[in-house]
Symmetry: C2
Subunit: 307 residues, 2 copies
Amino acid sequence: MPTSNRAVRFNLGALLLTSLICLPACAKDLVHGPKMTMAELIKTSTSADWRMPDAENTLYMELEKGRVVIEMSPYFAPNHVANVKALIREAYFDGLSINRSQDNYVVQWSDATELRSIVKAKKTLPEEFSVRYDAAMAFTRLPDHDGFAAQVGHANGFPAARDPKTGRAWLAHCYGMVGAGRDNASDSGGGAELYAVIGHAPRHLDRNVTLFGRVIHGMELLSALPRGKAAMGFYDKPEQTVTIKSVRIAQDLPPAERSKLEILRTDTPLFKAITEAQRNLSGEWYKKAANYIDLCNVPVPVRVKTE
Amino acid sequence: MPTSNRAVRFNLGALLLTSLICLPACAKDLVHGPKMTMAELIKTSTSADWRMPDAENTLYMELEKGRVVIEMSPYFAPNHVANVKALIREAYFDGLSINRSQDNYVVQWSDATELRSIVKAKKTLPEEFSVRYDAAMAFTRLPDHDGFAAQVGHANGFPAARDPKTGRAWLAHCYGMVGAGRDNASDSGGGAELYAVIGHAPRHLDRNVTLFGRVIHGMELLSALPRGKAAMGFYDKPEQTVTIKSVRIAQDLPPAERSKLEILRTDTPLFKAITEAQRNLSGEWYKKAANYIDLCNVPVPVRVKTE
């Protein structure tokens, strides 16, 4: 390109580089592969393939740099979801801070100063590490072996595991999952201290902590925070903490102020097709298909609704 | 604590919170578990359990905010390591930039402006996706099933896989691994464009790209970079890119300027014991041991040498 405009050259460079590591939705993949890629499959989707997260079970954490949207799962953690909502509705989180950011592990937010009191919500709750599952759990099982559980897949949009022998199911600690921190006792959590996974899935935490949600938008506002220098990634200076302006339930905001997000349903033939495409990535760039997928690598696409 | 000093209160809060999600090295775990934890096991280590990375195969990427240290593996990618060193020694990377940061995937650095010329090093190289392994690969095999490979474990300190049927071995795309980006052709990479994994392990890239190293220090200087807003996480404005002040080989610096790092050997009984401790995390906090470990969750501790 015969131009001296640095920005243009930069963009050109960026475009030329886009195939260096192809993504699931890599444009080059779309052209040649005989099989359809995830991006192609998504183009075939209809409105029935997407769902709006339930506003009553979606929370917005407002930070200086933007909004983190978390979808909660009352199916897997009914009491924790109810308590987090009670905490939100008494404005418990407003003005608190993210005070831990540990590389390849979690960010965590809570009342580090311990000055905040809990008025109506519960301070602690019995564990909800797993639930007895039933037909209401729309489970799309992955075909592959998983080292941590008898069966894994997606339940109502969340990465999950189940064990037919015990009849129990639980959410899995994949990237972006949100849970309620606790002390040593199983019933010492409750939702006043929360964390989100920002690294390689710490699946060894499964059934050890109550997970109740997943970040569906604004993940980079958590994952790209500077890491804390104190033990376990805690910020060692108060000025490093990230203030939480407010946490609100989507339902409590006027519709115009809600994030317009849609999530791909996980109980559809389209989702199964996407998972299969990701199990065997094809196209000009891939030389070797894995013929396997790890639960935490299955994409659950979220799109911003524009209409 | 009857103090009005906010910093002290903050630190107290942080200390009280440290058990909310216990880490591998969680202090509370050390007290009660009948089995030894990783932290306890490391305390039993002798100098023979640690190694210094080979200065001739260690590179320092100097950023404004600090140094990223990458250990390279001439065993798995001899030609790429040699070429990256040739590029470094002709100062190819000095003044280039990190121009891609894609959430839960990779950061990437290269000559986005395409103004830099390569003088003595090679522009591209044949792939080194896997090698024919031999006795020089000190392979400590994990006991567990892996979905992506016949056998996985650690080879000379790096997470790796091998297939006895083909006699071949390869490095695995775990968090912090570093590889050479390429275009569609297998032989279109060479080391002038590099990437590091900053998210959940994209193991589907194994044997599709040449990996040649691992970040052993300063990982947070890459993983906490703001994510790019353009497609595939490329920064959409030149001013967002992160300047690489220089890249040097440790051997080329005076000893006083080298990072004093030691890495736990992966071919020792101690490393096996640590892996076993991590497969079954115990202590007061853990209620359920996984009895399994994912290759990319096995810690390979690095310590800063003090004396």
